[in-house]
């Protein structure tokens, strides 16, 4: 392999990794805090991508502007979904383990609801729009400008979220809820507000990931499951509920995917799965997870 190929594989892996990292961080906080393994995560990404496509092609709205519209919208949707569906489910569940199982199934129900609404609105044909496709030179290899912007936004949002969780008062409440939701509730943290909010933040990240994705790749209504799977692998890689684990894991997976894709592109998804299974068996709590 020439050095140019190596640079291209690694940099494009990092560029994809940004979106993976965002998607995984969303999934990991939804599970880590709200205890919902959101199998419909990828569908939220798809809807955000389609919305961005619609805004761009119909109203000529810059994708970065539509990210600013989409993000609070998804936050609200996520908040509402948790407040109505998952809060009811949590109150009715006989045990936390039962809630986890049931919430996974309900999330699977949402997968069908969201996917089929998207099919009714946007149909099943993949589409793309072109924005800032001009090239940038990185270490002697040309990359599309939209890829680089997507990575920058992903990193900025990831860092901002990390700072928010570690520095703000609300972030402290979230971290307390990760450790032990029941005790956090007893310590005066309003669990019925924090959990829906965290779920909403997870949806927000899915929304932004979808916007960034639509800038670089064609959008297909059926691609949601792939991103859910990628996020699941990343989350298992970094440890369920670990925010930095999700962030770093996203980039690792991006590079792995890029290397495998270079060798045999049809095996990319299976390689992710092989990685997931090996990891689950070798380190059931994830690379950065606490045992």
């Amino acid at each position: 392999m020439s050095s140019e190929t190596v640079v291209r594989v690694i940099v494009s892996g990092l560029l994809n990794g940004g979106v993976y990292a965002l998607a995984a961080m969303g999934l990991t906080i939804q599970y880590g805090v709200a205890r919902v393994l959101n199998l419909s995560h990828g569908e939220f990404i798809v809807v955000a991508a389609w919305l961005t496509w619609t805004f761009f092609t119909r109203l000529e709205i810059n994708p970065l502007v539509s990210a600013a519209i989409t993000a609070p919208f998804f936050l609200g949707i996520g908040f509402l979904i948790h407040r109505t569906v998952f809060t009811t489910l949590r109150k009715r569940a006989p045990s936390p383990a039962a809630f986890e199982g049931n919430s996974l199934l309900v999330a699977f129900g949402f997968l069908y609801v969201v996917q089929n609404i998207a099919l009714l609105i946007w149909g099943g044909v993949p589409r793309a729009y072109y924005w800032l496709t001009g090239g940038v030179n990185i270490l002697g290899v040309r990359f599309a400008l939209n890829n680089v912007i997507a990575l920058a936004v992903a990193v900025a949002l990831g860092v901002a979220f990390f700072v928010f969780v570690n520095r703000s008062r609300l972030g402290k409440a979230i971290r307390a809820a990760v450790e032990d939701p029941a005790t956090a509730g007893l310590m005066g943290i309003n669990i019925n507000l924090v959990l829906p909010l965290v779920f909403g933040l997870g949806a927000l990240m899915a929304g932004v990931a979808g916007v960034l994705l639509s800038m670089c790749y064609p959008i297909s209504t059926f691609m949601g499951m792939n991103y859910t799977i990628i996020a699941l692998v990343v989350v298992a890689l970094g440890g369920l509920g670990s925010i930095p684990g999700g962030f770093i894991g996203g980039f690792i997976l991006g590079i792995v995917g890029s290397i495998v894709g270079q060798l045999e592109s049809t095996l990319t998804l299976s390689s992710f799965y092989a990685l997931l299974m090996i990891l689950l068996v070798a380190r059931p709590k994830g690379l950065l997870g606490k045992s």
């Binding site: 569906v85 069908y112 969201v114 095996l267 299974m277 059931p284």
Partner: protein
């Protein structure tokens, strides 16, 4: 042997009921149209998948999402051993048993590997298992074999229907016997408190792996029957994720406390799926999602879980009416 057990009123009525259903099923293909028998085949397929899912997950509490994986393995065994092109390599019954055995062996390996995983991690792993197999077969078909899909030597709807009835009976019998055996008790104790079960001397590893593999055997068997019925196998239809979730939904909808709960759930759901899905594909799947959400929130005990509640309420009403009458 105490013969009065078999002449009691309850036993006779249950046995009579089962015989009546079997008699109906036996003559149904003779009178039903081909498409009606096709619907019957799908219903029986889901009954087996659901009952075998409940066999392991219902009592141990480990949520397996690997149904699609084992079902797909059975289909591919049929595709390799019962192909259309050179013609069948083995007689159909042997192929069906081979499909079950292949799933059984895979399940033993997966079970041994995933033993340490608890709760969600087990669900994620099994979920991944089906997708992994699907993408491996995608690679095999597109890159190695060079053509999507494998044609399978066809069997008629009628043949599939009769074979499936036999398998339904065997599956229900196995599930019933497991429930009544020490193995069933051991599984239940694992579901309630695994650590306590281990301390009481239950070999939890053996129990989990064995029942996981037995339930996978039946899933593989159905796969090997359905592939010749569908006449072809390809990577995307064989490992459809829906096959992992449908049995879970059907079992929850029917209720898992009694053995007939999953059967009822499977019959109702499979029937509505067959009749509505073709007419309104998007709306059907949308409604499926909403139904899944509502059932899990509002009907956690399933339909059969409602029976004791209704009995209590109705019983109360009847008692009051009687009192009022006196």
């Amino acid at each position: 042997m105490d013969i009065s057990k078999f002449t009691s009123r309850k036993f006779l009525s249950v046995a009579g009921f089962i015989l009546a259903i079997l008699a109906f099923l036996a003559i149904f293909p003779l009178y039903g149209s081909n498409s009606e028998v096709g619907v019957g085949v799908i219903i029986l397929m889901y009954v087996i998948l659901t009952v075998s899912w409940v066999m392991f997950s219902g009592s141990t509490g480990y949520m397996s999402l690997a149904v699609a994986g084992f079902f797909g393995i059975g289909q591919y065994v049929a595709a390799f051993l019962y192909p259309r092109d050179p013609g069948p390599l083995l007689p159909l019954p042997a192929v069906i048993i081979a499909g079950g055995l292949a799933s059984f062996v895979f399940a033993l390996v997966v079970g041994l590997v995933t033993l340490r995983l608890k709760g969600m991690y087990f669900a994620i792993f099994t979920f991944g298992f089906a997708v992994f197999l699907g993408s491996i077969m995608q690679y095999y078909e597109l890159q190695i074999r060079g053509r999507r899909g494998i044609n399978v030597f066809p069997i008629s709807n009628q043949t599939a229907f009769y074979i499936l009835i036999v398998v339904v009976v065997l599956t229900l019998l196995t599930a019933y016997l497991i429930r009544r055996s020490r193995l069933g008790l051991a599984m239940q104790s694992i579901g309630e408190n695994e650590d306590a079960a281990a301390h009481m001397g239950v070999n939890t590893t053996m129990v989990k792996v064995m029942t996981f593999a037995i339930s996978a055997f039946f899933m593989g068997v159905v796969g090997a029957i359905m592939a010749p019925k569908w006449q072809s196998v390809d990577y995307s239809s064989a490992f459809l994720l829906l096959y992992s979730f449908m049995p879970v939904l059907m079992a929850i909808f029917g209720g898992m406390r009694e053995l007939y709960g999953p059967v009822i759930g499977a019959v109702i759901f499979a029937y509505t799926e067959r009749t509505l899905r073709l007419q309104f594909p998007y709306y059907y799947m949308l409604a499926f999602g909403i139904a899944l959400i509502l059932i899990i929130i509002y009907l956690p005990g399933g339909l059969t879980g409602l029976v004791p509640t209704l009995k209590d309420k109705l019983g109360g009403v009847i008692a009051r009416l009687r009192k009022g009458g006196q």
